[in-house]
């Protein structure tokens, strides 16, 4: 068959690509070791290689995050404004229903900001959990046709959610300026700690949910219901002192109160409120700052979160071999 170099006329770049398999490097093919595909790794030792793998694919992770963000508001006129409108609407509803009708606004100073700090942490959490759950199923086309670490799908959701939260934080700053009240810098170190705890916890949960959703689609609906329940189990739109009073003073249920406080999201939200809500610095608001040692609590959470992420990743890795055929 006569064949001309028509299509290949473009000058070939002589450079050899360093793809994600950077480890293989530039060594001539003969010198590279034969590697077993999908090498079964022991349950205990597989975590570190996976992390290395994900690091090698960080460029792709960036692209996937970009895709998540772009696709979400594509073709909508307001675009990214929606990221801000949704929490603002929630804020409005809670501020009117709970702040005004139920009277919390009169008791808690700066109730709007109080609500918003909690909602900020909560939105990040739900965005990650909800997004992760559908991430493998939603990308079935890719999962079935291309190989790269499957963890990238949940992680791209996490990345996109973080960027959304950063944008929403702008509202908070505007609110500080509008009310001319600012959080005390002494409490700000709580934020990175709370964020790390939140990320570890939600990534771990997200990985497990993403994997189980492949095998059982009911997980999507379970998560919806579960998050609703969880929202009301967390002191976001009400204050934690009400729970304490109800459980320890009115009833002799101190242990139940400890259970309530064992909720990781409760600790994270309390830390957010303490660090970002200036109202607690006033005399009227001081009571609503959580009086326990949040640093210790967050430290324990982070330690537990690390273990949790490790366990979740191992479970995820176990099931991922079957993703392509289950989808």
């Amino acid at each position: 068959m006569p064949h001309q170099q028509r299509g290949a006329a473009s000058p070939a770049a002589p450079t050899r690509t360093i793809g994600p398999a950077v480890g293989a490097g530039e060594a001539p093919l003969e010198d590279q070791p034969l590697e077993r595909v999908n090498q079964p790794v022991s349950f205990w030792r597989g975590f570190v290689p996976t992390v290395r793998d994900i690091w090698a694919y960080r460029e792709l992770l960036g692209q996937l995050i970009r895709k998540e963000l772009k696709v979400k508001y594509k073709d909508s006129v307001l675009g990214f404004v929606w990221t801000l409108l949704r929490p603002l609407l929630y804020l409005l509803v809670y501020a009117v229903a709970i702040g005004v009708f139920l009277g919390s606004g009169k008791v808690i100073p700066g109730f709007g900001i109080y609500l918003f700090t909690g909602l900020l942490a909560w939105t990040l959490f739900t965005d990650i959990i909800g997004g992760c759950t559908g991430s493998i199923v939603g990308n079935a086309g890719l999962v079935k046709k291309v190989y790269f670490p499957r963890e990238l799908f949940p992680l791209s959701v996490v990345g996109a959610a973080m960027i959304n939260v950063l944008l929403q934080a702008v509202i908070l700053i505007l609110a500080y300026l509008a009310t001319w009240s600012f959080p005390s810098p002494a409490n700000l170190p709580l934020i990175p700690l709370a964020l790390v705890a939140l990320l570890l916890f939600s990534v771990g949960l997200g990985l497990i949910l993403a994997a189980s959703n492949v095998f059982l689609r009911d997980v999507t609906h379970l998560v919806e219901v579960g998050l609703l329940l969880w929202f009301w189990m967390t002191p976001i739109v009400y204050d934690w002192t009400k729970v304490r009073t109800t459980l320890t003073v009115d009833n002799d249920l101190a242990w139940l109160f400890q259970v309530y406080l064992a909720n990781p999201m409760a600790n994270i939200v309390l830390a957010f409120q303490r660090a970002l809500w200036p109202g607690g610095q006033t005399e009227a608001g001081a009571a609503f700052y959580y009086d326990g040692n949040l640093y210790v609590r967050l430290g324990v959470l982070i330690a537990a979160g690390l273990v949790f992420v490790w366990v979740a990743q191992r479970l995820f890795a176990r099931s991922q071999g079957n993703f392509a055929q289950e989808l």
């Binding site: 068959m1 064949h3 001309q4 170099q5 028509r6 299509g7 290949a8 473009s10 070939a12 770049a13 450079t15 050899r16 690509t17 360093i18 793809g19 994600p20 398999a21 293989a24 093919l29 003969e30 590279q32 070791p33 034969l34 590697e35 077993r36 595909v37 999908n38 460029e59 792709l60 960036g62 692209q63 996937l64 970009r66 895709k67 772009k70 696709v71 594509k74 073709d75 086309g141 890719l142 999962v143 079935k144 046709k145 291309v146 190989y147 790269f148 059982l216 689609r217 009911d218 071999g321 079957n322 392509a324 055929q325």
Partner: protein, 414 residues
Amino acid sequence: MTDVIRVHDVSKQFALRKDKSLKERLVNARRSRENAESFWALRDIDLTFASGSTTGLIGHNGSGKSTLLKIIGGILTPSSGYVERRGRLAALLELGAGFHGDLTGRENVYLNAAILGLTRKQTDGYFDEIVDFSGIENFIDTQVKFYSSGMYVRLAFAVAVHVDPEILLVDEVLSVGDEPFQRKCLDRIRRFQREGRTIVFVSHGLDQVRQLCDRAVLLDHGNQLVDGTPTEAVRAFRDLNQAAEEAEEENVDIAAQGTRRVTISDVSVADLDGRPVRTLPSGAGLQVRFRVDPGSRLDDWIVGVALEDSGGQVVWGANSDMQGFSLPELTGAPEEVTVEFPEVPLSEGVYQVSIAVASTGNKIVYHRVNRLATFRVVTDAYEDGAVHLRPGYRVGDQAVPRGGVPLESAAGER
């Protein structure tokens, strides 16, 4: 030569589960076990691929070709056995697998390139080349959901070929796009070959396999039937098809038309000595024999014969009138008719014979039987196209002798 991929005794079993939700599983708890039917998509596949080789995987739909590619690519894990490989790998299992309809062509190029392993910087460098190759400059900033399927595929292939893998897995993606673009793609594949990359590809285009591959593996229901030269594998595959077709032939009412003023029966194919044959070497003679039963006297009649290849393309067709023969009058008794071809220089393949009896000028078709007889032509040469030609080569004044097996004996052995 180095082995680049080793497939060790790989088997893959699929469970066919029909219930997916918790509700369905609870409701069908008892039947759940029965629902989990399983079948073997691959059984004991054992192959090695040397660096720089191009291997074609052929077989029917569902024979396990794609599954094998996915296992090599690491997308599926085998039920038993394992795969080893070295070097960077790019799998083109589906063009545009990573494309997202809501993103523009430009955004998708970056995303897809990242999926295939390019960094953003490298993609920047290749971007113009990619767009140029795809030939859709004007639409690069349009969302791909508005693309025609041809445009979609062009862009996807353009991205894929600019990734620079040592191993390339290709699944049935070369058969897309219009002809010039296909040629462009094939040129690219050939360039990959010249650069010494290892290619494994699945194709239903048997000619493509013969042209591109230096080895072919025939899979049938998950078993590895033949591992050899493309010609061997393709021939075995055609045998397989023929067997299946013959089994079908029994049941199928062969499409027949005509007024039945004359009927055709007992169609057979024979060699020049009149012995029935199914396979003949290219260039040998062939007789098409059949019986006509006119019922009563008939003087105005012609016989038409057509030979079709397996794709339904007529490779030769004419009738006795067109060829300048006027057939003698039929008395009314059944008569044996033989159409003799002194030589049939067709290229390798399976051919089918259709026969018609009509009045002059085809005004009345008495009887027409389609594809009632089948024969196979074998050759020992790599060639393209419909006919088997045997060129000699001369350089300067020097005739070049042909190496390998002498043509006639090689063909005759089969």
